[in-house]
Subunit: 362 residues, 2 copies
């Protein structure tokens, strides 16, 4: 038996829970607002598709003015290439013969593909794969305080840029960072120092890419960056609200959930567990906000249950059978749990989209 | 482009990462060991399919002697009914017209379906749906200290049992609990008191169902329970290892991951992020065990990256391109992220199974 996905015009309260739903108007407004801000500051925008994994939303982002998209996996980029996207940056060190071979096939069939590298090992793999027929654009990833991937110093970035340009099948295209929150000053100085070192060797560095949603509206504090990448801004979530990135009226994703048990006066149980919300805390001590029930606290998740402490409720308590709207701590991981996403406007379904790049494994 | 899933005999090192893989021999041994223990103590075993969501594994569990299966959602039960399973317990309060209608259709087509209820509201919904043509078996869920769903007292269980039996389309079949770890004594007394109350009213209570993997091998400490439910035991994970439920040699699931960056001497980055391991901590302070690298600590996850602190490593450090085996904190949530699961014996692929009940939304 297959699930009867709702048709256009279906009211949200007829949808089986747990289910994330996306508000079309808020989605469109988030896309427009972010693009307008970067336009105003003369920066290119390259949205990260990790948050939605849906080609139709990426098309909305391009129509608003984005220059291309950002993927995290070769297999995600393949899905978007299949859907007609022609300018894709994969912000990941691609290693191993199998992935490199698919990366080469991908490069052959789209206009502009670029990847990152933060080591001689990654560059060696790319250099051995690509040739002068269609060279691959490579950016050097820099660690400006995010403490994930990236070279540690501008000097190390220069060394890798030279290695890239020494490979006939590769072209050094620029530098990239995923900064720590509040890291604008550090990013600006890292980019500046790296550009000076590159200029001294007459190496062009056309792209300086920074990223992140929480600090999105601080992108102008990094004047040397030419582009910004961000994903979460498109839906927003509780973490973005806390960061001041958005207001409550900009939250485009809610997870609809049903109260399935009220075992005690102070406890409710919802049908959205870690297989609907994920257990991402992102620094919170609870697992999401229940709209309309101020003070209700999702204190624990099991796989299909959310346990809610109602003892702090200041405005009524939900009863068995009530459907509530949960703002997830983190939207990107919720998208990754569902094969399709339901969209609505004013509580009526507008469309159901395949989360096309979910579950890709390459 | 679609992913070329590995054929039988493919060596694991030819598989694209990140990817969970299941050791056939450990899987079979886990199934056998658990079944033998419950057989020895005269208890029925009803494995929970939440951990694997794969009909072929549930068949192995039935072949070993399990009496039926346990699902958490109507849509999961539908997948297993489609695959021929005839005795299914859904341990969830089913609410709402849409789900109830599907539950009724499911009851009509399989031999033995049962559900739980912990409130008059849930029973009223069931009572209004089922009829005497094929009554539905209902167990009363009891909270014996797990603090999730369930009635709080034996007296409340009796009240619901009477309500169930008062509905022409329902049959009271027994009581059920998902106990807190170490809760055997509490479970035994709750069952005993409830049975005494039921007996005083001449209400039969043929099924007394307890559950859980961490305390699996303490099931004999609840002599009044007739059956045990458990899911995680089939794969095992780091949390089961910590609980003493299994030994390292019983860990059937590993997540294969590649070292994609070594930005500093003390830091490695793997390609298994929260979209491969999930962020379930289950009380740990880190996100999984890396086999063969004693002291390496996965200190943070982003969606496609795991950051590993190598400063405590006592036996070598992995290099870029190395493939490592990660024991996840929690296997059930990892299964839920992948559309297919790869099995192997001695490092060679034996089969690839659809995770058939993943992504069902009803």
């Amino acid at each position: 038996m297959t699930y009867p996905w709702p048709e256009e015009g279906t009211p949200l309260d007829a949808i089986s829970t747990p289910m994330p739903v996306i508000d079309e108007d808020r989605l469109a407004a988030n896309i427009l607002k972010a693009q307008s801000y970067l336009d105003e500051h003369g920066k290119a925008f390259r949205p990260h598709i990790k948050t939605h994994k849906i080609p139709a939303i990426a098309r909305q982002q391009l129509q608003a003015g984005a220059i291309g998209i950002n993927c995290q996996k070769v297999s995600e980029a393949e899905v978007f290439a299949d859907a007609g996207f022609d300018d894709i940056l994969i912000t990941f060190n691609i290693l191993g013969a199998a992935k490199l071979s698919r990366l080469k096939a991908l490069n052959a069939r789209i206009g502009r593909l670029s990847v990152v590298a933060d080591s001689a090992a990654t560059i060696a793999g790319l250099a051995g794969t690509f040739d002068t027929e269609k060279p691959l654009a490579v950016l050097v990833e820099c660690d400006t305080g995010g403490k994930r991937c990236g070279v540690q110093t501008p000097e190390a970035a220069l060394v890798l840029a030279e290695k890239i340009n020494a490979a006939p099948g590769l072209v050094f295209k620029g530098i990239l960072t995923y900064p720590a929150p509040g890291g604008a000053e550090k990013v600006e100085s890292f980019i500046g120092e790296t550009m000076a070192l590159l200029a001294a060797k007459s190496i062009e560095c056309p792209v300086r890419s920074s990223g992140g949603s929480p600090d999105f509206y601080a992108a102008h504090l990094v004047p040397s960056a030419t582009e910004h990448r961000a994903g979460t801004y498109v839906y927003n979530d509780r973490a973005m609200l806390r960061a001041g990135h958005c207001a409550a009226g900009d939250l485009a994703m809610h997870v609809l959930a049903t109260v399935v048990s009220r075992p005690t006066p102070d406890r409710a149980v919802l049908d959205c567990g870690s297989k609907a919300l994920t257990s991402d805390l992102l620094g919170f001590s609870d697992y999401g906000l229940i709209e309309g029930y101020e003070g209700a606290k999702i204190i624990s998740l099991s796989e299909e249950h959310a346990v809610v402490d109602l003892s702090g409720c200041t405005s009524g308590r939900p009863e068995i059978g009530d459907v509530v709207k949960v703002v997830p701590n983190h939207t990107c991981v919720v998208s990754n749990l569902f094969d399709r996403m339901v969209f609505h406007r004013n509580g009526l379904v507008t469309r159901v989209e395949d989360v096309a790049a979910r579950g890709t494994v390459w």
